[in-house]
Amino acid sequence: MKSTQYSDKVLDHFKNPRNVGTLKGDDVSVGRVGNPVCGDLMEFYVKVKDDRIEDIKFKTFGCGSAIATASMITELAKGKTVEEAIRITRQDVANELDGLPPIKMHCSNLAADALRDALTKHQKKQGPTKEQTTDSTVPGEIKGLSDFLNKGVFTEVANFSDFANKRSMVIDKGERSMEIAIELTKQTPRVIFATKMKQLPATEIADKLKKSPVRVLYESEVLEISGLNTVEKVIIHDLNEDEKYELFVDSVIVPA
């Protein structure tokens, strides 16, 4: 079965997804699963009243079956008790949709996981609150940083035109790094700003950065810089998803 050969039911949910959107309020729990790195991202908003799911909405970035499975599971979950809804499996969703191409089973897995995430959060809200531990890993030296110093790695930019048409990555070291990133967009269409933070501070420069063509990677740590003689790639650790991936770049700027 080809990845795009879907059942009529899948196509129906893809074309007319049910319960798209978001919910707001204290009684709403949000579940989020997936990772653009592997392809899909799903968010579920669940409103529980008297232990039953009163309302549910979703948003998804993904393929046809990701959209269809998310839509389907909202129909399955609505009106069910939290315990019942937690037990919905990927197989249940696939069955309701008259099957999925085997290669797509991971997508419906995601829908069940995201819903479960929302419902577990709801349960936690009800139960005793547990103190969340924050990430306290000590930032180490980026591997390869010193090897490529001035061979693609720079601690300051004197001449911005040296970066003309170079894919440039700026590592967050505060305001100067934001200034550099913004300035670089005048030289090259590709500027990536990697920060370990979940969001940027509410400063004027950070605001300017967000509005600029700079692509900001949140919760991202550069682990390694590699290449033959000059910088060619970096390895990035997505702290949120705990996944590592490679990105081709020509230069890395780490302001001192």
């Binding site: 653009p36 392809g39 899909d40 998804t60 970035f61 393929c63 269409p189 590709r190």
Partner: protein, 387 residues
């Protein structure tokens, strides 16, 4: 059939080509190896086709080897050359953005004692001489860089790479499948030693490919048998297809200038209108060094298979580099090599024009796209700000 905007995946066989093939299924069914008059008729078209294709690429007829397709040609070129010349060195250089068949051939050779280096490309998909030079050493025997990329349409500086390799006595192979019929090929000017072509990409039948092998370049055959094709590719020749490819080349030679002008008009119109009207949309590939029929966009916050499915609803066939539409669930390695994040590679849309497209097809595409993008962005958690 609806509207077809995916000519890089497959092309219909031109009616004139089919007519040229038909007699070779029954009336002229001979085997070129037979010495009688029935065999002679087959030999005649075999050699005529070889001659036409030879001159089409700027080479000689005895430098043309017929194969079963581009994948076989790539195998014969790279594995055949590597095996034959391994006493001179065990190092091969390919580009990161080569066709998957070349990446997998490279993997096979690595398991068989060869070392393969991959040249990273710049953000537009170009191989630079600097990066190539860094990777070449005294053990390098072969460099393989595609003439133009089938996904993003970037055209390489083939003449530069050819000259670089010739000076160092390194063989140069190029997969010209994406470029053939759209760009003038010249193995002399570009100093190409081995070149892969496919019949279908010229509106000929599938199941036939060509490997151009420069006289003096030695390769090992991969298919052993009765010694057809100078012993480089045994097996009775696929005469109807060979007759078809001859006709296909003849048509292309006449019609290419007009045809590519038309494609270019389509291409430039689509690029201009889409970039001008849809926010957070970008062109992948090179802005100017680009195949005349290729358009490749990416859209923030949207996944490519969903785009493709939405177009399918409207009976418009397009293509994507998204992981969700691939067998391996990996995003296109070409898009990743451009320096794109996975989520960006997922949001890609490829449109390739061809012989039977008309202005109305372009109109339909441009009319359909904005609403699809809008709808999918509305669904997307990655596209919150601008909704």
């Amino acid at each position: 059939m609806g509207i077809y905007l995916d000519y890089q995946s497959s092309k219909p066989v031109d009616r004139r080509v089919i007519d040229a093939m038909l007699p070779y299924f029954d009336e002229k069914f001979g085997n070129p190896s037979s010495l009688h008059h029935v065999g002679d008729v087959a030999t005649e078209i075999l050699e005529a086709s070889r001659k036409t294709i030879g001159s089409f690429v700027g080479g000689k007829s005895d430098e043309i080897v017929f194969t079963s397709g581009a994948t076989e040609s790539n195998n014969l070129a790279i594995t055949g050359y590597a095996m034959r010349n391994k006493n001179r060195g065990n190092h091969i250089v390919i580009a990161e953005i080569e066709h998957i068949s070349i990446h997998n051939i490279a993997k096979y050779l690595e398991k068989n004692g060869f070392v393969v280096s991959k040249i990273p490309v710049d953000q537009f998909g170009l191989v630079t001489l600097e990066k190539l030079a860094e990777r070449v050493n005294e053990k390098t025997i072969l460099v393989s860089v595609g003439y133009a990329n089938n996904e993003i349409g970037t055209i390489q500086n083939v003449a530069q790479i050819g000259a670089f390799c010739r000076e160092r006595n390194i063989a140069f192979h190029t997969d010209a499948v994406a470029a053939e019929g759209l760009l003038l090929l010249d193995v002399e000017k570009d100093k190409i030693d081995l070149m892969t072509l496919s019949s279908n990409d010229l509106y000929g039948p599938k199941g036939l490919g060509v490997l151009y092998v420069r006289n003096g370049i030695r390769i090992n055959p991969l298919t052993i048998g009765g010694g057809q094709e100078r012993g480089l590719r045994s097996g009775t020749e696929n005469i109807p297809a060979i007759a078809g490819m001859e006709k296909a080349v003849e048509i292309i030679q006449k019609e290419m200038p007009e045809e590519t002008r038309r494609f270019q008009k389509f291409r430039d119109r689509v690029i201009k209108e889409v970039l001008g009207s849809i926010p957070k949309c970008y062109l992948n590939g090179h802005p100017t060094s680009r195949l005349p029929n290729n358009v490749h966009f990416r859209f923030d916050g949207i996944e490519g298979e969903s785009l493709l499915l939405s177009f399918k609803e409207k009976n418009i066939a397009v293509s994507t580099g998204s992981a969700c539409s691939s067998k391996t669930l990996e995003p296109s390695h070409t898009l990743i090599a451009l320096g794109l994040l996975h989520e960006e590679a997922h949001g890609s849309l490829e449109v390739t024009f061809g012989r039977f497209n008309e202005d109305s097809d372009v109109d339909a595409f441009l009319d359909t796209l904005p609403a699809i993008v809008k709808r999918l962005r509305k669904l997307s958690p990655l596209y919150k700000e601008e909704v």
